[in-house]
Symmetry: C2
Subunit: 222 residues, 2 copies
């Protein structure tokens, strides 16, 4: 039962910085929006989500205007690390999937597209089976409700030099199936979708869907 | 890849009635809204959905104002029968689940609640495992976005005299676990949720989620 808003979790983050409550609150909300609220394991949202940030001030290091960007970045890094661990630790998961959506009309639309892909059982089973079925990824983007124009859409698996492109502006790019399949068996699995429409981007984390997920949740009795 | 709008299917319905195209179109739209568009297997929507209704007029029976209610009912019956078969035939499904939502503020909200329950992997695995986990059903209703007030909500498994109540206005009703579990192993499984808020109702069909679903979709290669 793990899905954005804010996945199922009780998170407590502590710092010894000296920081005003309203500044810490702002920093935490920003970090949560791009970490815990961008995780999905199975689309089932819990009612028990809590994240707390506590600042003791013990270090006597004051976080003022000048330090706030560095503090925000550090807090976001911790939250993203925890969020990734939540997805990787999903019931029956064998690997983490990171979905980077770029080129959307807005960050909200990028999030929406990434969320649809992350919640698609067909995408998650395809990754589990190492099947480079890019049609399922594109279909999820298409039904997300965000603006998607196939003739502008590009898709890659993997990161850096190892990345391979599967789709170039709506047309299938010739690719090595066994290499693509191997990239889906790495941990984490990296999927990058560029919509070619604007400057909105978002990264979402999920995991593959295995038969073990079913066993765990069918056999679990309250 | 089966979800409302209108699940993944090519349906052709033929009649030998003599009926004006616009009347047939209206009748078909009404029937589809409450049948094919109320089916979900895995929440993955296809781009290839088509439903056609053809009228040959061969019977020379004219469908006028007086006959249209009977014609609408007959067409809806055919569509609902086909829709139920689609859900029952979902990948790896071992039984059909029928979710009847009543007492919503509107039909649209009833549909929304039913859809959230039908799309919940946790509900679908609980049914698969025969686990009378009513909390998962309530959680899905709660995150559907429709108005839900726990203290007005009631839930039953099964139909007719065999039905047992699990929830009475937000409070767990004492129930026989083995009977409840047995009702989740029947085919179809009947779930009835009354929201106690208004006159909106909708029935949604889905299926249980089995490990076989994962095998089929992880091993399938395009």
């Amino acid at each position: 039962m793990i899905h954005p808003n804010m996945a199922t979790m009780l998170a407590v983050i502590a710092t010894d910085a000296r920081i005003a409550p309203d500044r810490l609150d702002r920093s935490l909300r920003g970090a949560v929006a791009r970490s815990f609220n961008r995780v999905s394991v199975d689309g089932d949202m819990s009612t028990n989500d809590t994240v707390l940030a506590l600042a003791s001030g013990a270090s006597a290091v004051e976080i003022g205007e000048r330090e706030s960007a560095a503090f925000d970045a550090a807090l976001a890094e911790v939250c993203v690390s925890l969020a990734r661990q939540i997805a990787r630790d999903g019931e029956g998961a064998t690997r983490l999937i990171e979905i980077a959506v770029t080129g959307a009309r807005s960050e909200a639309e990028a999030h929406r597209v990434g969320d649809a892909i992350a919640c698609s059982p067909l995408v998650k089973t395809a990754v589990h089976g190492g099947d480079p079925n890019w049609g399922r990824i594109l279909a999820a983007a298409g039904y997300s409700g965000a603006e998607v124009e196939p003739e502008r859409t590009r898709l890659w698996f993997g990161g850096g030099d190892a990345a391979i492109q599967l789709l170039e502006r709506g047309l299938p790019a010739p690719f090595d199936r066994s290499r693509a399949s191997a990239l889906l068996r790495e941990d984490p699995v990296l999927l990058r979708l560029d919509l070619g429409l604007g400057g909105g981007s978002a990264t979402i984390w999920t995991c593959d869907l295995s038969a073990e997920y079913v066993s765990i949740n069918a056999d679990y009795t309250t």
